[in-house]
């Protein structure tokens, strides 16, 4: 059943000082016709989509793409300029944690106030009060004014109230980045529970990893328009691809600009999935192949290599062709392809930047070392059959191997 139906939602803003803020500006504006052309911005333009019951929909896009505007319209905070939408069921929206919190009031008082602001009934808050307090881990400070709380405590309390909101449709803006790692884990778990309990969720985040972990479907907004709508992994891949400028394939047609020297020249670099498709989105469980295509201009012993770096810029590993067959063999002039396969369940999720290289080791000479020649995104699996198992929170680590565990019982 369709829970949310949005049809041609548009929102227009008038920019600049033409929106008079003081009477004087308005009065002078009456006589000042020189700058009558108001700059108009469409924060949202003709956006239509539907969301089914129980679906968790992710919303992605750059800053200013219209994500917040769309959430505000669906939350009834602002009205669309044109278009309509209808939502079945009680709507709860979390665009900020701790809306209406007052520093002079105690934790207890703020729980009631914030709960009411989020649309909870008093009886509902009373029923969940103990649960909220336990979740926030601030029991001992319940009657202390929140101005004496640390930022972490404040955020934990605020999120706890929000997390116990129990609507049929939940609209969430990037509020998960609160508190310490332990609390973040709890929040993500809670978010996932909400999604799994059959409620409909719309979730906005800049963190592509949590988007792909929590959502099966994603809507991508660009410049206020709906750019794409579909399977989360696919859309996130496309989005990251566009963002990182380089993608799964790069070809150098011009000899002048191609990396290399008079001995060897790089012609292309590609990322392929385990079925041989060129793709910038790689499932964490699957093998990924990196293919370097280069032209040997003078016969020589040449060793191709790749270096994989993560988003933090750390080198995950370097690999070069060590196979006996070519190790000491001179490569005659011609076009070659070297393919290296990285096994599944090794790389960590996130964007991987590949540096393509070629060198001769005896005597040492680097022919080319092209940084970020290609990039791809490793997407983790929400299905429980990857290294993360059933854990939904952030997992640090440069690699995420699937290792075997053994349990022995001693008594």
């Amino acid at each position: 059943m369709q829970v949310i139906e949005a049809q041609n939602l548009s929102k227009q803003y008038t920019l600049g000082s033409r929106q008079p803020y003081s009477l004087r500006e308005m009065l002078t504006g009456l006589f000042d016709r020189s700058d009558g052309s108001n700059r108009v911005l469409w924060a949202l333009r003709d956006v239509s989509f539907t969301v089914d019951e129980g679906e968790t929909l992710g919303l992605i896009g750059h800053n200013g793409a219209g994500k917040s505007t769309l959430l505000k319209i669906l939350s009834r905070i602002t009205k669309p300029t044109s278009g309509t939408a209808s939502i079945r069921g009680r709507v709860g929206s979390l665009l900020e944690v701790g809306t209406g919190f007052h520093s002079e009031l105690s934790g207890r008082e703020n729980i009631y106030l914030n709960g009411a602001i989020l649309g909870m009934k008093r009886s509902e808050i009373e029923k969940k009060f103990d649960e909220i307090v336990a979740f926030s881990e601030i029991e001992t400070f319940l009657d202390t004014p929140v101005k004496h709380y640390s930022t972490g405590m404040y955020m934990r309390l605020a999120f706890s109230v929000a997390a116990h909101l129990d609507p049929e449709v939940l609209i969430v803006d990037e509020v998960l980045a609160v508190g310490d790692v332990g609390f973040q884990r709890k929040c993500l778990r809670k978010m996932r529970d909400v999604g799994e309990s059959g409620r409909t969720v719309i979730f906005v985040s800049h963190d592509m990893q949590s988007i792909t972990r929590l959502c099966k479907r994603v809507i991508w907004l660009k410049d206020g328009e709906l750019r794409d709508d579909g399977e989360a992994k696919h859309i996130v891949g496309e989005y990251l691809h566009e963002q990182s400028q380089t993608g799964a394939e790069k070809i150098w047609n011009d000899d002048e600009t191609a990396p290399g020297n008079e001995i060897v020249r790089l012609r292309a670099a590609r990322v392929r999935t385990d079925v041989g498709e060129i793709s910038s989105t790689i499932d964490i469980r699957r093998d990924v192949s990196i293919e370097l295509e280069y032209e040997i201009l003078q016969s020589k012993v040449v060793t191709p290599s790749v270096q994989l770096n993560n988003e933090q810029g750390s080198c995950i590993f370097i690999s070069h062709d060590w196979s006996g067959e070519w190790r000491h063999a001179e490569r005659k002039a011609g076009i070659y392809k070297s393919i290296v396969t990285v096994p599944g369940n090794l790389l960590s999720e996130g964007t991987i930047f590949v540096t393509a290289g070629a060198a001769t080791h005896q005597p040492h000479q680097i022919h080319f070392n092209e940084r970020d020649a290609v990039t791809f995104n490793v997407i983790d699996s929400p299905d429980g059959d990857a290294a993360r198992g059933d854990y939904a929170g952030p997992m640090p680590g440069a690699v995420r191997p699937m290792l075997s565990w053994k349990t022995e019982i001693e008594n």
Binding site: S22, K79, T81, A116
Partner: protein
Amino acid sequence: MTETTEITRIKPGGSVASLDLAEIWKYRELLYFLTLRDIKIRYKQTLIGVAWVVLQPVLTTAIFTIIFSTFARFDTKSVPYPLFALSGLSLWLFVHTSISLASTSFVNNTSLVTKVYFPRLIVPVASALATLFDLLFSIVILIIMMFYFGVTPTTQLIAAPLFVFLALVLAVAFGTLFSALNVRFRDVKFALPFMLQVWMIASPIFYPANLLTEKWRLVFALNPLTGILEGFRSALFGLPFDWQLIGVSSASLAVLSALSLLVFKKMEDKFADLI
């Protein structure tokens, strides 16, 4: 899903929507908590708390008494001047404080407007209601003063809450109007104190309405506060009610309240975009 699935319809704004009392009723608990919040914060933040609420009317009454009972002797009938002044001041200070606080209620609670939905009317109404708490203190002082001056109330006293209610309507109406105007025009912050001062002088707070001739009194009654103050005093001190005056003021109050609400409804859709 339950059989009582509510459906939210989102449409472009523009038309002056209906008042939607059902929606406000649904959020009555929020009104309660926001009022409670405003009361608590005001009494927690000020150093002398309750004393402030008591001192303001008492000191003002003292000043008025010194000035007006020495220089201008108003005909306040059988009512001692301090009692006359305090009865007027208690309602005036309530209306004044309510409107001042309500006028900044959105500007000071930006996130309530930009981050969450509820009927916007609740915010200024809560500010006005919270001030009602101050009025309680003024009324206690008023009762003590009545004992002191030996003024015994008559059965007319039962009409007093009616005028307190009318004062509340006035406070809510203008508080709502200025809260909306303040979102759009930040001049309100500067203009309002001046307007309130003029209004105070133009209202029978420290002088009686019978100062004016019959003809002018009804024009004077277009100021809703005129009828409210005169009626409140008649109820307290057992004086005859001037129903003509009260009638004109009430009608004027009804028109002004409707206009205020209309302006508010017309502007509220744009709050989140403007603030």
